[in-house]
Amino acid sequence: MKRILNKDFDERQLKIRGAVYLHTLIVMVLLILVNAFLRMNGVVWADELYQALLLIMVPVTVGSVELICKDAYIGVRRSYGAMILLLGLCGIVGFFPPLFSILSGKDGFVVNGAFTSDGQRMMVSFCCLIISSVFVARYFYERHQQGE
């Protein structure tokens, strides 16, 4: 496993990834504590499945954005671009239909202090969209830098 990882990322990227994983873990722990505090006080802000998904997706999004900005998301081989574009596609498919539904008044984003099913789906998809968008922006920025 170590050999595979070392072939995929260079030494600078491995160092950065270690630091970013620590940041991601801290964010995840803080969100879990906040969620536990809310549940203790009887606040149900989303379905249990989406609570778990968001507790995973939000820190992963924060970490992914940091990795992309520091050019440690994709390694030396740069073979995962298609996967990230697919992630963006899933984000678009999951984000915009519920958004149109909410904007047209068919459903709401938050009802009685809890996110609706459309709202929950939108938030998870938004995380995917952010990762993909930052990746694409970074890709064009790098191309511009190389051109200079």
């Binding site: 260079d10 030494e11 600078r12 990227q13 630091a19 970013v20 940041h23 801290i26 964010v27 803080l30 940091e66 520091k70 050019d71 390694g75 030396v76 790098e142 190389q146």
Partner: protein, 84 residues
Amino acid sequence: MLFGLSVMFWKSYGKGCDAMPKNLRIKSARAALDLSQKDLAEAVGVTRQTINAIEKGDYNPTINLCIRICKTLGKTLDELFWEE
């Protein structure tokens, strides 16, 4: 929590007090062989951004990477990495 996260990210992004000086010798050795950063990066097995970070003084390469860079550019460690 937000303040702590901000400090954490600033420390990660900021150069800090021990920023290295720019390594112009690598840049000039690379230019002498008409190599782009991307060409050198591919030759030594790292990304272009890593070579850029080394030349700007933002990253201290390991001795193994220094040796690979020296071999590719045909220079010695002293010529490229010794601090004057």
